[in-house]
Symmetry: C2
Subunit: 202 residues, 2 copies
DNA sequence: CGAGCGCTTGATTGAGTTCAAAAATCGTGG
DNA sequence: CCACGATTTTTGAACTCAATCAAGCGCTCG
């Protein structure tokens, strides 16, 4: 379940012990208490996080103070405002911890360092492409899929999250209201769909 | 208006004449006739395009055969399914030419080549980050903004496109119907908003 | 136990869709 | 240059999906 950043690097890049030792000073391992805000909208993002354990999330707050969940980052995933981090622009969203978490904190120095190491050629690129992949899928979903289809996609993509985050937050991620999600689920139950938890008919 | 890929590389990377000459064989300059399809959904994307002149676009077609415009790529922009290109997965969208266009066609060999040149360190990264930036902004818009706000954002972001593509296609990009966009515009006119073209009151 | 939070349900509202048709615009060939 | 057909845009009316507003229920935690 939990994966350490070190092991992650090892399996993804085949880095050696001593190479890791060299970059260790550039990595900060940090425990994040639930509800801690790591990045504020409009601030500049100077760190990117790799989640070893727990759950971070990002969200925007619109003019009407409504919260929209952009991304969930459970264990073994990355989160950060890449745009702000790279271009120094104001962040488009908040990042905070929804569960007590343990993360590896990486800053610009870390990425500069790894870009000089041959084994890491393509590692950054891979992360960025994967990020693009997720964003692209998200856009497709938002544009082309109904509330029900988006929910089904969500549960298949992140089955364990349905148990870890409240329904209103999943609704927010899907771009619908909690009430609507409740009704979508009711309808799915009627149609005999089984998600993670499901009440059997009498 | 038109920018050549060569000049683009020059200004972005400070590449020398001879460095350009070295990579020239890896670049294909190609004229694309209007309506030519460059990538089909579900196919694997093996090329990325830099638009020198003209207008490409990408779009998905959903289960109900509805078309959703994902991206417009006018001169000096990039287009391609990065996910498919990098991971070899089936493409999430079509790419075609909406106007007769001139593009630089770049394949994996090109990117491998430039990654070995010091002046290009960070060039790829910059392109990818910029792509992420656009996707992220798009997601924020789709999640948090009304049809009217999305349209206003569009005209300010791509003022000249409002003259080059039909309204129904902009509507598709915004995720609304042409009828809705027509009404949004009518309402904006009533409120005295001036886009690119606007009829003065009598 | 009671206050607060999350989930559900019902009633109502509303933004945007659908369907249909008219009006405006564009393109092309005579 | 004009005419004609095709495409695009606009308008109207009915409708739909999801949002909003408003209770009510159940659970947990202080």
């Amino acid at each position: 379940m939990t994966i350490e950043f070190r092991d992650y690097l090892q399996t993804k890049t085949g880095i050696t012990e001593e190479q890791y030792a060299q970059m260790e000073p550039l990595i900060v391992y940090r425990k994040i208490a639930k509800n801690t805000i790591l990045l504020r909208q409009e601030a500049v993002c100077s760190e990117v996080y790799f989640v070893e354990h727990g759950l971070l999330r990002s969200y925007t707050v619109d003019e009407e103070d409504k919260l929209h969940v952009i991304q969930f980052a459970p264990e073994e995933s990355w989160i950060g405002d890449r745009n702000s981090f790279y271009f120094g622009e104001p962040a488009l969203f908040f990042i905070d911890a929804y569960e007590d978490s343990e993360v590896a904190v990486l800053d610009a120095r870390f990425f500069e360092h790894i870009n000089k190491i041959p084994e890491f050629a393509g590692f950054q690129s891979r992360i960025l492409h994967n990020h693009i992949r997720l964003l692209q899928i998200r856009i497709n979903m938002l544009m082309a899929a109904s509330a029900e289809a988006r929910y089904l996609d969500f549960v298949s993509r992140y089955p364990n999250l349905t148990l870890r985050v409240p329904q209103w937050m999943i609704a927010s991620y899907l771009g619908i209201t909690p009430e609507s999600l409740s009704r979508v689920r009711k309808e799915l139950a009627r149609k005999n769909f089984r998600g993670d938890v499901q009440i059997s008919p009498p």
